[in-house]
């Protein structure tokens, strides 16, 4: 396939496939996994390891790149190519790799501090450029590796070692931020829901360009139960808003059944299911080229944790950065032929002596 053909929706079209059947074991490295017992990272690792065989890619063409933080140890535990880099810079490093190697499936593993604080700039620029990357953002709303300072996703007033009287700064909502940067694929999932997590990863891998997947991840040491309401059978169904493309957005059970509709103020609002007509209920359109409604949905969990949308907020096709780069290279070559070093050095005014 040449790059000028549309690769939209074919996230892995340029990555060589294998005929050999793979199992979870093929993706386990020989390194001992060293997160705290009970950490949500284990569940994500297991979900990823058992998901990768399903892609049917040659293992050597998969690369995991990470920054710094607990989650960033991830690449060491996968038997693929891996690069554990420096704090915040994984999207930048992965950009160089993915734009020059379209035959690779490149995954960035990052956390809330890594991606949204020290590396915030690289994240938003990777998103706007639509580099062919899958970014998995493990959000535990705390700094784990440095032992428990508040993070850019911690709620206001968070009491930590560095904020004994409570944190002052308003948190980022990673989904809103990514949509603000006009990312083409934006989703949220939870460490404990393997099925949902893997379904999101599947879509993310199929998306050519940057896909940002926020994964709520429990840090049981420094911020335990941050997402408990989404996991506790007593509450979870009443607050989890599962976004599914083409389906009306309803959630909750029995008397607590609720629906999402357009609000008169230009956003969306949650109302009792019994109080709205079917026609009023918002139907989720992940492929809407305009990100405004997706953004409005991302605000539902903010500021209180009363209803939290998970799933794919946005999935639209636009050419990935590497593809556009190749197209320019091909156009330049088609125009004037492949570069010749001698011609280059002798271009312009020259003169001969002797």
């Amino acid at each position: 396939m040449t790059s000028t053909e549309s690769l939209n929706g074919k996230g892995l079209a340029l990555v060589p496939r294998t005929d050999t059947a793979q199992t979870l074991k093929d993706f386990k490295s020989d390194q001992e996994v060293r997160w705290c017992p009970g950490c949500g990272d284990y569940a994500i690792l297991a979900a990823v390891q058992s998901f990768l065989p399903e892609l049917g890619l040659r293992r050597e063409n998969i690369v995991f790149v990470s920054g710094i933080g607990c989650s960033s140890r991830f690449p060491y535990y996968l038997n693929t190519y891996g690069f554990h880099s420096i704090h915040g810079r994984a999207p930048a490093i992965a950009t160089g790799l993915a734009s020059s190697r379209p035959d690779l499936s490149v995954w960035v593993i990052t956390g809330d501090g890594d991606a949204l604080s020290i590396g915030g700039n690289h994240l938003i620029h990777a998103l706007r450029r639509n580099v062919n990357l899958n970014i998995l953002l493990f959000n535990n709303r705390i700094y784990g590796l440095t032992k428990g300072q508040y993070s850019p996703t911690s709620e206001v007033g968070k009491i930590t070692k560095s904020t004994p009287m409570g944190s002052l700064d308003k948190p980022f909502n990673p989904i809103s931020l990514a949509l603000g940067a006009e990312a083409g694929f934006v989703a949220r999932t939870i460490d404990s829901d393997r099925k949902h997590l893997q379904s999101v990863l599947r879509e993310a891998a199929a998306h050519r360009g940057t896909s940002l997947v926020e994964i709520y991840q429990n840090c049981n040491i420094f911020n335990d139960n941050a997402f408990e309401a989404l996991k506790d059978p007593a509450t979870r169904d009443d607050i989890t808003v599962k976004l599914e493309h083409g389906r009306p957005i309803v959630f909750g059970t029995g008397d607590n059944e609720k629906a999402v509709r357009l609000s008169p103020y230009g956003g969306v609002e949650v109302v009792r299911r019994s109080e709205v007509a079917d026609s009023e209920i918002l139907v989720h359109d992940a492929h809407n080229p305009d990100p405004s409604l997706a953004f409005a949905l991302s605000r539902l969990d903010d500021p209180a944790f009363e209803h939290v949308p998970i799933g794919i907020f946005r999935s639209i096709d636009r050419p990935a950065y590497d593809q556009l780069m190749r197209e320019q290279m091909e156009a330049a070559t088609a125009d004037k032929g492949k570069g010749d070093l001698r011609d280059l050095l002798l271009a312009g005014d020259t003169w001969r002596i002797g």
Binding site: I93, T95, L341, G354
Partner: protein, 614 residues
């Protein structure tokens, strides 16, 4: 009237005007004509720091100096023989550099009361006798141009703007320059605006004719072509040569070039140049910041590209952590630092050699990095290939230290034969190198100590690298104290063991007792100064360091075999500090940090002083 023609062996002209007057273009064109004529030459543009400083003010003055001769020359010249001053500000800003007897060609139209006041002249210096020391040619350049362009379908403003071409025509007549290329250049430049093209060509020709007919110029000058080694020549600036060197390194290594860069003065032109050459498989990535620029380059290198980042001092400071990552992951990477005056923002358009210690030591941990410094604008080509050779062969980041003087200066360059360029091809590792089919990413080549380079996509060699300390051989995370000590020493030994050519000494009679040593862009001024000293009967040896890390193996011997070692640097003695520490030699520093290159005359006096002193 036939005019007198006088022979000269060399001339230094400085074109100076407002930044909107097109002085860089005028200088470039005069340079092209001169190159074509076959003189040796060297140029030095001088840009104002502000993009558009208020018109007619001193900060708005832009200039271009050109030195050309019938013999090989080494610098853009100390002091101009001719100053073209397009306005009072240009006169005032440059007068201090003019030696007695020099020619001043001044555009009288701009010497209005208002313009004179703007720069603090009480009277008109062209009309009083304050310029008596110089030979002043008052020429109403603007009105002559406007008159010459009467009847052309262009606005008055466009007509006035063509005055730089009138000046170029006049100077071209004065020095017998060939004009065809400039006419062709103007036709091409204004291809989409034929009226403007015609007007500029007419202004250029009017300037030439004016020289021939006016009485204010009674003499014109001839400077014979220089005899240079045979070959095909072109004129080239340091930044352009560096960009071409990187492309050549890509071709000669067989690796695609990936440039990650953030715009910064005076390095941006390398990004601009490389972005034009996509046909060579060059990828240029204008990153969101300096850190992303080097990060992307390193990521591309991990994938098997020739990864390069280009910047200036402030950018190097930001890239330091990533360069450290390249040191410890032992991936090839080229970091180009086009040094400028610092600290902090400093003086972006001015030159310095003040980043040497940062290049060598400006990272956390024991983080050795090879450093290569080009000596002249055209040498940037070879230095770039050399930096790539070291990076690829030893799997290491390399610092390439150019500077503003080299970047923007230009000189004729004998274009090399492609067959003469070094082969720097690399072979990626494709087979396991450990027991039982294992791949050990940090098992070193016994000779170079370089680690194998297996790129993603290579089956069976899947491995992980990172910034955490690695166990020798396997590359697995290791906090073992002895392993760390060993890895620190191995990384250092690898850099120390890089093979670099010996330091050459130029000492024609072999009996000099004083050595003048330099590195980087001071080569031209030092060599010109050495010539002067020798001409006057002084004995002095010269050596120039291209490799700052590791230093050539014979450096200590060379330094030790002279009574005195003089080291001029455009910093406060950074290399001197290193040489003193390493070789216990009492190096004599000569240090000026004015944002300007040394002058040959200045250095000649310093060398003579050192020879004369006991």
């Amino acid at each position: 009237m036939t005019k007198q023609v006088q022979q000269l062996d060399r001339v230094i002209i400085r074109f100076a005007g407002d930044s909107g007057d097109g002085m860089q273009l005028t200088g470039d064109r005069f340079t092209a004509e001169t190159a074509q004529f076959g003189n040796d030459l060297s140029t030095l543009p001088n840009f104002p720091a502000e993009i558009r400083a208020p018109a007619g003010t001193l900060p708005g003055v832009s200039s271009f100096q050109l030195h050309f001769a019938d013999h090989d020359i080494l610098t853009p010249g100390d002091a101009p023989n001719v100053l073209v001053a397009m306005n009072p500000a240009a006169l005032k800003a440059n007068l201090g550099d003019l030696p007695r007897g020099a020619d001043i060609i001044a555009n009288t139209d701009e010497f209005t009361k208002r313009n004179l006041q703007k720069v603090g002249y009480d009277g008109n210096p062209l009309e009083d006798d304050s310029l008596a020391e110089w030979r002043v040619h008052s020429v109403p350049l603007t009105s002559l141009t406007v008159r010459a362009l009467e009847g052309f379908e262009i606005s008055k403003k466009d007509a006035e703007r063509a005055k730089n071409m009138f000046a170029l025509g006049l100077l071209s007549w004065l020095y017998h320059r060939p004009t065809e290329a400039t006419v062709a250049f103007l036709e091409a430049k204004f291809a989409k605006k034929p009226d403007i093209a015609k007007a500029n060509i007419a202004a250029f020709q009017a300037g030439w004719n004016y020289g021939e007919t006016t009485e204010s110029f009674s003499v014109s000058y001839e400077i014979k072509p220089a005899t240079l080694p045979p070959g095909v020549y072109r004129n080239i600036s340091g930044n352009q040569a560096l960009a071409y060197g990187l492309i050549a390194a890509s071709v000669q290594s067989g690796l695609p070039l990936f440039l990650g860069s953030y715009p910064i003065t005076p390095a941006s032109d390398i990004l601009h140049e490389l972005s034009k050459h996509k046909r060579f498989g060059v990828r240029t990535f204008q990153a969101e910041d300096e850190i992303a620029g080097v990060g992307a380059a390193l990521g591309a290198a991990f994938g098997g590209a020739l990864g390069v980042t280009t910047t200036s001092g402030p950018g190097v400071a930001l890239k330091a952590e990533t360069v450290g990552l390249a040191v410890t992951t032992e991936l090839p990477l080229i970091v180009v630092d086009v040094q400028r005056a610092g600290p902090s923002t400093g003086m972006p358009t001015k030159t310095e050699q003040t980043d040497l210690l940062m290049a060598l030591y400006g990272r956390n941990g024991e983080s050795p990095v090879p450093v290569v410094a080009p000596a002249t604008p055209s040498d940037c080509f070879d230095a770039a290939i050399e930096a790539a050779r070291i990076a690829l062969r030893y799997r290491t980041p390399v610092m390439l230290l150019s500077d503003g003087y080299l970047a923007n200066g230009s000189e004729p360059w004998r274009v090399p034969e492609i067959d003469d360029l070094p082969d720097i091809s690399v072979e990626f590792t494709t087979e396991p190198n450990g027991d039982g089919g294992a791949y050990l990413p940090f098992k070193r080549d016994p000779q170079t100590l370089a680690r194998p380079w297996a790129v993603p996509g290579t089956a069976g060699l899947e491995h992980r690298i990172g910034g955490i300390e690695k166990a020798d051989g396997t590359g697995n995370i290791s906090y073992d104290p002895d392993n760390h000590d060993k890895m620190v020493r191995l990384r250092q030994a690898k850099i120390d063991g890089i093979e670099v050519p010996d330091l050459d000494v130029d000492d024609p009679d072999g009996d000099a007792r004083v050595l003048v040593l330099g590195w980087g862009s001071t080569y031209g001024p030092i060599a010109a100064a050495v010539r002067r000293v020798r001409k006057a009967g002084g004995k002095v040896a010269q050596a120039h360091l291209r490799h700052l890390n590791p230093l050539p193996a014979n450096t200590g011997d060379v330094l030790g075999s002279y009574d005195k070692v003089l080291l001029p640097e455009i910093n406060l003695g950074q290399l001197a500090l290193l040489l003193r520490a390493r070789f216990l030699v009492d190096v004599i520093g000569y240090n000026r940090v004015r944002g300007l290159p040394f002058k040959a005359e200045e250095l000649a006096a310093v060398i003579q002083d050192v020879i004369d002193s006991d």
